[in-house]
Point group: C2
Chain length 208, copies 2
């Protein structure tokens, strides 16, 4: 029998692992539980991926890239820098809304597992340039024209990412503590999308 390149079982294991790793992180997820969710024997997890670490890396790097490239989008030509920035913030926000568990997974694993972070550095050397370069020149041109106050591209990215990401890290906690319904959380999140755009656009203005 020829091996199915995308075996049903292998795919089920990957999906179960992704779900559980996103929910609880690496340390709190056991291969036994992955197998249970995937509907197979625990040894099968090791048959396909040999180690839990391999399995984790299979889902992790894809997720990190998703996380980082959320900022990088193709824009309509001819629109203003501010409009472009607004589109980027919204695209990043929408990516996070579609993957709300992503920031937690990425931060949790990179902070608790230093080797993972060092390994990542090698694989992701292209990303900063992909994300920063298209924006950097434009930002500096706008500053030179006096349309935007003095600031670096790093400051801008950090601010956007902070505002967008923290919302999705904190909202499960906010939901419980403030006793919000699902509907109320949805409304709050949608409102923060506009709020984050407003904050960034106002904050880059010159004068004072």
């Amino acid at each position: 029998m020829i091996a199915n390149p995308d075996s049903n079982t292998e795919q089920a294991i990957l999906e179960a692992a992704e779900k559980l790793f996103l929910e609880k992180g690496f340390a709190l997820t056991s291969t036994t539980e992955i197998a249970r969710v995937a509907g197979c024997n625990q040894a099968l997890v090791h048959y396909y991926f040999r180690t839990k670490d391999n399995l984790f890396n299979s889902v992790f790097e894809k997720k990190v890239r998703l996380f980082a490239t959320g900022l990088l989008q193709v824009h309509q030509p001819g629109i203003s820098f501010e409009q472009k920035l607004k589109q980027m913030i919204e695209a990043h926000f929408d990516m996070l809304r579609a993957n709300p568990g992503l920031p937690f997974l990425v931060f949790n694993e990179l902070l608790t597992n230093p080797e993972r972070l060092k390994k990542l550095k090698g694989n992701m050397l292209d990303l900063p340039k992909l994300v920063f370069f298209p924006l950097k020149a434009e930002l500096e041109a706008e500053i030179a024209k006096g349309n935007i106050r003095q600031m670096t591209i790093y400051d801008l990215i950090i601010s956007v990412v902070s505002l967008n990401v923290m919302l999705f890290i904190a909202s499960p906690i906010l939901k419980i503590l403030a006793e919000l319904s699902d509907g109320e959380i949805l409304k709050l999140v949608e409102n923060r999308k506009q709020e984050n755009v407003i904050i960034i656009l106002k904050s880059i203005k010159p004068t004072i």
Copy 2:
């Protein structure tokens, strides 16, 4: 022999636990390792705190309160709302800088352990009011006077906390990925303190 109310050993265990929990979270810290750092036998950890969970709660609630009350500061009377806001942002920022591992611990444990979050809700009912109430009335007065655009106190708090907290969650990662020296990180952090103040103060202004 009379029990020392603040036994040397008990205190050493608490401090070791605090250090390790802050570094690696609950799941990745073992009582054996806590004992090693505290310089005592592993069974002593259980002698003093019975369970690992008890020990964790002993350090955790104190830390959550520290995290939440960072925003709550006594201000000089008679200064403007904007100056007061600036002081709050800076005080919150300074608290985080003095406890950089705090946000990770709080988010990590509250997100991976739902029972911890529910339990916390009971113990922290006073906090939202302590933090929000002093500001809420003033904010609404400023909005009525037309000094500040229409926004809620929750939006303001979320923005401040997002900008301040995310910096300290992300900076260990940023340090590795961008290959920054300790000095460069210090400089970046200090710069972000002013940047966050500027962002918030600009973002609350009326007029588009």
